[in-house]
Amino acid sequence: MSQLSRRWFLVRVVAPALVLGLRPQLVCAAAVATVTRLSRVGPQPTAVALSINGRTVDVALEPRETLLDTLRDKLGLTGTKKGCDQGTCGACTVLVDGKRVNSCLTLAIMTQGKSVTTIEGLATGEHGDTLHPMQRAFLEHDGFQCGYCTPGQIVSAVGLLGERRPTDDASVREWMSGNLCRCGAYANIAAAVQSVAGGPA
């Protein structure tokens, strides 16, 4: 809304109302409500472009959709797992602009303009068959049992590499504490992470 209409309201509505002794809070609220209205979308689906694993994908989203549900249900990227769906297990960990986050507590629509990396985006090579060093380390160190938490563990560990934290066992355990493993494969997970984090970059 233009400055002109704000000014008009201030001069023609707010000032006289204040002179009349009306409560300034109410007058201002009414004035602002009239001249300001943020443009909005939803609740019905709206077309959005997201950047997922280096590719731009067009998808219709309801604003309430989490990134986790969008990845799994709309984009077929089911490597990212739904565990608790409330930010307490880490199975849904993805990278947004290189930082690890819980995709279950992220609205997909809020990742517009950002770069999302999932477990499917870690491997490289012409056919996507060259595993990321962290994926290889989890294989070499047997860093899993049932495997459900593994994609989140691996993505979280890749995020950890970028944070340049200490790489002793206790530090790795603390900095990987956002990823729970109900099988209790922690010893091998920590070894896998350490083998990459502590090794040559």
Binding site: A33, T36, L38, R64, G159
Partner: protein, 328 residues
């Protein structure tokens, strides 16, 4: 989760105007509280106003040696700030003891200090809760109240405040800078919160639409010499059962200034004024700290499952003071 509308705020003025006058409008930044509670239908906003692109993320030194932290700085940003770690160690320690690396990358400090209680009855809409609906009753009074408060409660609500950060901020005399339709104001963090009384649904003094723009850490000798002790069920990624933030200015072995705040034992970050008074002018030694810890539990009252918090508070205060004084 209910259907919602979404708007991206281009500037603070429009965001505040909309949030102030539209019923059902709610700010969203990191989203870690509001999305969680929307899934439970405990929060039911109709419009989310995305404020993440507002220019409020900077962490900068103030002329007097303090630090001004934009409300949109993440918990990770603040924990990693050398300005914070050197001048206000209790704040960095509290942040690093909070949540998980993922959540700290997401959650903003403005949102952190406004996070809602973890009371299981508040989070479960099938149970009566005076905080969700005043007058319905408090299920925790005679329920599973192991995580609940032992001081500052009312017959209507015994929830505890879960923020490690807010507890630490009390001890460094933090100020909250806000903006609303009525202009800007500065609120001492300690005064941001109100006790439940007979209106547990009212938690802070903020007006509808009032936006936290920044948190200011004020420089002091005690802030530089501060520490955070968190006692919890597991070593990481867990809320506190009891926590203690302490800041002490010690000269020639004598306590000259003291701030002590208790976390997870009250419905708000609990400044322990009596403990501070018991420390001033006394030698910084274990006898002093033990006596101060005895004072910390005056007025505390358990509700059954949380009775353990009272002796735990006494032990934690004594240990936190020793840690802070470097005599542990």
């Amino acid at each position: 989760m209910n259907p919602i509308r979404y708007a991206k705020a281009g500037n603070a003025t429009d965001a505040i105007a909309t949030a102030s006058v539209e019923q059902g409008a709610h700010y969203i930044a990191g989203g870690t509280t509001v999305i969680d509670l929307m899934k439970l239908n405990v929060e039911e906003p109709e419009l989310l106003i995305d404020i993440t692109t507002l220019p409020m993320r900077a962490i900068a030194a103030t002329p007097g040696g303090g630090v001004r932290i934009g409300a949109l700085a993440t918990m990770a940003d603040v924990a990693d700030s050398p300005l914070v770690a050197s001048g206000f160690p209790v704040v960095a320690q509290a942040l690093l003891a909070s949540a998980s690396p993922q959540l700290r990358n997401m959650a903003t400090i403005g949102g952190n200090i406004l996070q809602r209680t973890r009371c299981a009855y508040f989070r479960d809409k099938s149970q009566p809760c005076n905080k969700r609906k005043p007058g319905r009753g408090c299920s925790a009074l005679d329920g599973q109240n192991r995580f609940h408060s032992v001081i500052g409660t009312s017959p209507h609500c015994i929830c505890s405040h879960p923020s490690d950060l807010a507890t630490a901020l009390v001890t460094v005399d933090a100020l909250v800078h806000t903006r609303s339709l009525l202009g800007t104001r500065i609120i001492a963090l300690e005064d941001l919160y109100v006790l439940p009384g007979d209106r547990p649904d009212v938690e802070v003094v903020l007006r509808r639409g009032e936006l936290i723009e920044a948190i200011e850490l004020q420089p002091s000798i005690h802030a530089r010499n501060s520490a955070y002790l968190k006692v919890r069920d597991r070593a990481s990624y867990e809320f506190a059962l009891v926590s203690v933030a302490a800041a002490l200015a010690i000269e020639a072995g004598t306590v000259r200034e003291a701030r002590v705040a208790l976390g997870s034992v009250a419905p708000k970050p609990w400044r322990a004024h009596d403990v501070e008074a018991a420390l001033l002018g006394k030698p910084a030694n274990d006898a002093t700290f033990a006596a101060a810890a005895d004072v910390a539990i005056h007025g505390m009252h358990g509700y059954g499952h949380n009775d353990y918090k009272i002796p735990m508070t006494r032990a934690a205060v004594r240990r936190a003071l020793a840690m802070t004084a470097g005599v542990a």
